[in-house]
């Protein structure tokens, strides 16, 4: 395992030679959240960063749980998870996993909630939605169950995590570009990480 003081502090630290050759873990192009992460990092740090990241020959896993498991079992040193809360879970913390907020910022995946147009029980859905977005619902669903940040004002961050205001969240700005890039994500991922 990597000593705490050698943990990378920024995304660009991942390009250091000591992380070359199966030392990093990233997540496969299997989810919208991993598209979100790769898209925002490419926008922020450029295609050159992505290419050099790919040349570090990272381990690719399907899920963030597998990513943490790789670190806990000592198979790799650093993981770029799309679900940051995995790093703060009790078992991960017990096994010595440390969560790092990269200095350039962290891609933020927004989890929306919606009701289908022709939902069979729209009123029940509305009631659930009201509850999910209430203070009690946010504390329970976002913070306690997922360990994620709440967008509602006055909700405390999950235990062990920085307050959202002290982080540098990254969000997409041009949604038509975002949508177009999403359609080609499998090929983009292929180009950077599996060429």
């Amino acid at each position: 395992m990597l000593p705490r003081e050698q943990a990378p502090k920024a995304w660009t630290d991942l390009l250091k030679p000591e992380f070359k050759g199966r030392k990093l873990v990233i997540q496969d192009s299997a989810a919208g959240t991993s598209f979100n992460q790769m898209y925002l990092l490419e926008k922020l740090l450029g295609a050159d960063f992505m290419r050099r990241w790919g040349r570090q020959d990272p381990v690719i896993v399907a899920t963030s749980a597998q990513l943490i498991d790789m670190l806990v079992r000592g198979e790799a040193l650093v993981g770029a998870t799309v679900d940051h809360f995995r790093a703060f879970e009790p078992d991960a913390a017990k096994a010595g996993i440390v969560g790092v907020y990269p200095t350039e910022g962290m891609p933020l995946a927004v989890a929306p909630i919606a009701i289908f147009k022709d939902a069979p029980h729209p009123n029940a859905a509305r009631l659930f939605m009201d509850y999910a977005l209430s203070e009690e619902g946010q504390n329970l669903l976002a913070v306690e169950i997922f360990g994620a940040y709440s967008m509602r004002r006055g909700i405390r961050p999950p235990p062990g995590q920085l307050p959202l205001a002290e982080t540098k969240p990254l969000l997409p700005t041009d949604f038509s570009d975002y949508e177009r890039a999403a359609q080609n994500f499998p090929e983009t991922f292929e180009k950077y990480f599996r060429a």
């Binding site: 749980a65 597998q66 498991d69 079992r73 000592g74 198979e75 017990k94 499998p186």
Partner: protein, 568 residues
Amino acid sequence: MARSSHLDLPRLALPRLRLPASETVLAAFLVALVAALVLAPIIAVVVGAMQDSSGVSMRWLTNVLSSTRVIGNTMLVGVATTALAVLIGGALALVLVRIDTPGRSVLEELVILPLYVTPLLTAIAWSWLGSPRGGLINLFGREVLGASQGLVNLHGPAGVVFVSALAYAPLPFLLIAAALRAMDPALEESARVHGAGAGGAFARVSLPLVLPAALGSAILVFVQAIGLFSVPAVLGMPSGFYVAGTEIYRLLNNYPPRVGQAAAWGLLLLAITAALVWLQGAILDRRSFVTVTGKAFRPRILPVGPMRYAFAACAWLYVTAAVMLPVLTLIWAALVNFLTVDLKLMAFDLRHFEYVLFTYPKTYIAAQNSILLGSATATIVCALGLGVSWIVVRTRIRGRGFLDQVSMMPLALPSIVLALGLLWTYVGLTLVPIYGTIIILLVAYVTHYLPFGVRAASGALRQLHPELEDAARIAGASLAKTLRFVVLPLTRPTLVATWTLLFVLAMQEVSASILLYTSRTTVLSVAVFDLWEAGNVNALAALSVLQLAVTFVALGFVLRARQRALAA
């Protein structure tokens, strides 16, 4: 059609009416059903691979053909696994059938056990044992032996081939052992009489005669190996080693999914297996291998002196690597709190059994579905197998050759390709709304295991003299009654054994299920894979230990039934 016996009798005199309509109806029904089961998914893969949203397109095929590295990896796994599995299986067959190896009757039962442990579990266990940094073997090497370097690394092509060959070696073993048993010892004796040494006689006479069995089993293994998903997913993907099976899974699970490209991979695998089956026919057609006659032989056992203990040790080594060590590793992983590099942190803990038994929401629904699917698959495959083989063995109806061939085709159809074809067939077919239901899994299982049912039933039927059925028909019984009261009771011992084996095999299926399940139709082996992807490795171990317990109880039942049948 209720007919009385005295109306039937005069008809028998008329040769043109020798085929009563009920047989034709049964044959037509089976031809239609088997063709729909087997041919529809194949056609769907071909069509799916050649179209995209804009119409007919070669885009997916071009993409696939340009992935030369993945194609190379797939062929490497296919060829190396086949070679190693045939080598291991053939050596085991020799050691247990032709050599006076001590304990060979027990070993013969043990070496086929890997067939009943899904390669997914063997791969997971070996990954814990042999992963480069955190693997138990390497931990042991570092902590106890003080090795600075890792001792083994099973994450990569070598690990995939090693575990796949261990898993599939029983297939060549069964076929080659059967061929060795069926051989007339007089053939070798005549070679000896003409001056060949024992080794020479074996190499020049017996080995060539085993060739069809070796080739046949090689093709079986190869088809499984190039379409393999579970082993490369566990041992290949973490090291960036991708094969066709993992590509198909990835492309379907990608964001957004690339279904057409997955179908193109399926088409490529189909083309390779079709070419191989053709090649096998071409190789075997040129020579005659008829050595199996009506006479029963007892293979000659070669005494090899003290070497026999070394041979026995090798067979035990195989059993240990393929079954015992993986199962023990799973049991151990189920009983510790978590797996980590720091040995001091690991402690005995029953909470994983508690979790999978009482908390994990999928355990019961998956167990229920697996048992339901296992019994339905076994029942339908036995019934279809009996029907198909009866038409093929007992009648001269036109189209029975087609029926025989098509019902054997799934042997050359990697199950992940079959599942892909079923997805394509039924996703848009609102007429048969089975997409996303448990029925589509049942269709996949029945199609995949159909050849086993047909082979087992035709073996049993060939041993029955047709006069028993003729007597029933002459006495006025209908076809249905004859099958029910004559054929079924007489083939029952075979069918019971086949049923149980199919039940056990269906419980292990991963490659097709992984593409077809939904949260409500998940099965045990998929639940195990889910836990793997969820990184919940100890719960995975606990669940698979429970699954193995069910499997081995069922196998114990088969063994007892067989012993009882032998005693009777």
